[in-house]
């Protein structure tokens, strides 16, 4: 009796270990994404999102988008649906942050310093941020269902770790691309690298505001 139950317990433990190993194997995939322009140069700040078949449940996440020298910092953000974003204002001047994008409409009336309560982005899509006082201030938030994302570095590369080892869709997005590259698929059980080849060079970002200048 005792031996039988002990054997069963061992079997269960083994199953659990195998399961855990399988899960950890499933999570251990890594993907290196590269975004190259037609000249083969890396493209910076491209949002990369890896979407598996089944998405893990949402968890509470938070992010911050600051306002420094009349610019949103970072200018391009990527967050998961449900993320609460705080918009502090580190400038000595007041700002009025707004969005009329369908994915999230909001206004943060005139403020300096201490931010308002965070805004929760509850729908996927691209949210374009503006300041009603400084028209040249523009920011972008890419809101995605997937928790696996990042932005390419100055060399146009991004390494994403702890991905599920399964078939995934990979998308790339940047507001300065005249054509967004088509979505790709990858099997992370075998593929560890993926590259997006842009057919046209990205536009240069808009010129940064010189805070000493005004619109006349």
């Amino acid at each position: 009796m005792f031996c039988e139950s002990r054997a069963r317990w061992h079997r269960r433990l083994l199953l659990l270990l195998v399961g855990a190993a399988a899960i950890s194997a499933a999570r251990s995939a890594e993907l290196t994404v590269e975004v190259l322009d037609p000249q083969g140069q890396g493209t910076v700040d491209v949002v990369i999102v890896v979407t598996p078949e089944t998405l893990p449940p949402h968890s509470t996440a938070s992010a911050t988008i600051d306002q420094v020298r009349k610019a949103f910092v970072p200018q391009i953000s990527v967050i998961r649906v449900g993320t609460a974003v705080t918009f502090p204002n580190s400038d000595p001047v007041a700002h009025q942050v707004y969005s009329f994008s369908p994915a999230k409409r909001f206004d943060l009336p005139l403020y300096r310093g201490r931010p308002y309560a965070p805004i929760v982005f509850d729908q996927p899509g691209i949210v374009i941020l503006g300041c009603n006082i400084h028209d040249q201030m523009i920011g972008y938030i890419y809101v995605t269902e997937s928790p696996y994302f990042g932005r390419t570095d100055a060399r146009g590369r991004l390494i994403l770790r702890n991905l599920p080892a399964e078939r995934v869709r990979v998308t790339a997005w940047n507001p300065y691309l005249s054509e967004q590259p088509p979505e790709q698929t990858a099997d992370l059980r075998s593929d560890g690298r993926l590259s997006f080849r842009l057919t046209r060079s990205p536009r240069a970002p808009r010129k940064a505001i010189d805070p000493r200048l005004r619109e006349y």
């Binding site: 007041a94 009025q96 310093g113 009603n132 040249q136 808009r206 006349y216």
Partner: protein, 409 residues
């Protein structure tokens, strides 16, 4: 010193306002004191003294002068209604030691789609200049703006209403913005008298709202002072303009302007002048290099005539090209101006005729966020035929070298 009083008043106002800054955190306050050392080489008396010299200073001004004392206050009256006010002092023969150059309120409703609407009411500059983009409508590239924008600062202010709508490319992920603007204004009927009597000039003195300039030629009614911002014929003027911007680096601006003055009207002090012009400008900003070009063509008319067009008609045009290079905190600018006026009708009574070119070289050094040092050299070469009426040589070179030290707070 002639500028001690305006300086004291502005600094007092500034100190007073600084106290308010903490209370109303959204207010922006900018003050600037600009002191000059000037050396001038010209046979003419400056227009600021009632002469026909095209520079702000003449040989009698050699030495230390006040460039400008300026205070700009900007802040919200409500969430979307903004007030903007600029006080200036020039320290010369102005009737008021400190006076307004601009005062307006602007309604900026939150955009609800890719269109951005703005409504401005008050006294302000119409969207013409691509140089005058520093606070207080100062040139960002030199001390003195081009002949075209010098004239705007002298004779033109929108005292009225302006409505603009901008298609914001950022909202539709496009690299451009397109703006259409229309304005309706009054109180600018004497506009044209100075360009008729004196021609184009080059300087940074902006006429204040409640002041004017000496009249180079006394009016038939014996008036010796021009007040630019007056309503004489009770007919509003208008302008329509368009601007295209690409990536906030390249901008093209066009404006059609007509004050719809009735040249037959006179209120005893001055006549209404019918002034209209078209202006087109382009600016490109590369990494540290800026190129600007602008051209203006227009006419002005005054006096009763059987065809209603005016007894005197002056045609005028000007263009300039500017190149500016920034090297860290240092900026180097070169500009070439071409100026032309011609009396189309009435030349037998008064022949206003100018053909001139000018070169401007400027160096600006931002020593720190508060202090700026600047050097500017201007040479104007050309003729102004109406000088003969005062027994002066029509042709002469006018040269100015000015050093400025500017403290901004």
């Amino acid at each position: 010193m002639s500028y001690a009083r305006p300086c004291a008043v502005l600094f007092a106002a500034m100190t007073l306002q600084t106290g308010h800054t903490a209370e109303f955190g959204a207010y922006e306050l900018n003050t600037q004191i600009d002191l000059r050392a000037v050396v001038v080489d010209t046979p003419y008396e400056s227009f600021t003294e009632g002469g026909l010299g095209l520079l702000r200073f003449d040989e009698s001004h050699d030495g230390l002068r006040l460039g400008r004392a300026m205070l700009n206050a900007r802040g919200p009256l409500t969430e979307t209604l903004w007030a903007d006010l600029t006080l200036s002092a020039t320290g010369d023969h102005a009737a008021h030691a400190v006076d307004l150059t601009e005062a307006s309120v602007e309604w900026r409703p939150y955009p609800r789609n890719s269109l951005r609407f703005k409504t401005q009411l008050g006294a302000f500059y119409p969207p013409i200049s691509l140089e005058n983009r520093a606070i207080g409508w100062q040139s960002a590239y030199s001390l003195s703006p081009s002949a075209i924008n010098t004239w705007i600062g002298e004779e033109i202010r929108t005292i009225g209403l302006q409505q603009s709508v901008t298609l914001r490319g950022a909202a539709i992920q496009q690299p451009f913005d397109v703006t259409l603007t229309a304005g309706v204004f009054g109180y600018n009927d004497p506009m044209g008298v100075l360009i008729f009597q004196r021609g184009w000039a080059l300087h940074d003195r902006q006429t204040t709202l409640f002041d004017g300039l000496p009249r180079p030629f006394t009016s038939p009614s014996g008036d010796t002072h021009i007040e630019f911002f007056r309503e004489i014929d009770h007919r509003p003027g208008y302008y329509v303009g368009a601007e295209y911007r690409y990536q906030d680096r390249h901008a093209v601006r066009a404006l059609h302007y007509d004050n719809r003055g009735d040249p037959a009207k006179n209120d005893g002090k001055d006549s209404a002048w019918r002034s209209r012009f078209d202006s087109i400008g382009w600016r490109s900003e590369f990494a540290d290099t800026t190129l600007i070009a602008q051209a203006m063509l227009g006419d002005t008319a005054v006096g009763a005539s059987t065809d209603g067009r005016g007894r005197f008609i002056l045609e005028y045009w000007s263009y300039f090209i500017l190149a500016s290079q920034r090297l860290g905190a240092h900026r180097f600018t070169a500009r070439y101006d071409r100026m032309y006026t011609d009396t189309e009708r009435g030349a037998t009574f008064f022949d206003s005729d100018q053909t001139a070119t000018a070169w401007t070289a400027a160096y600006l050094w931002d020593i720190d966020p508060h202090w700026q040092f600047a050097v500017e050299a201007i040479e104007i070469d050309g003729s102004l035929r109406q000088r003969a009426a005062l027994g002066q040589p029509t042709d002469a070179d006018e040269r100015l070298l000015q050093l400025a030290i500017r403290l901004s707070l």
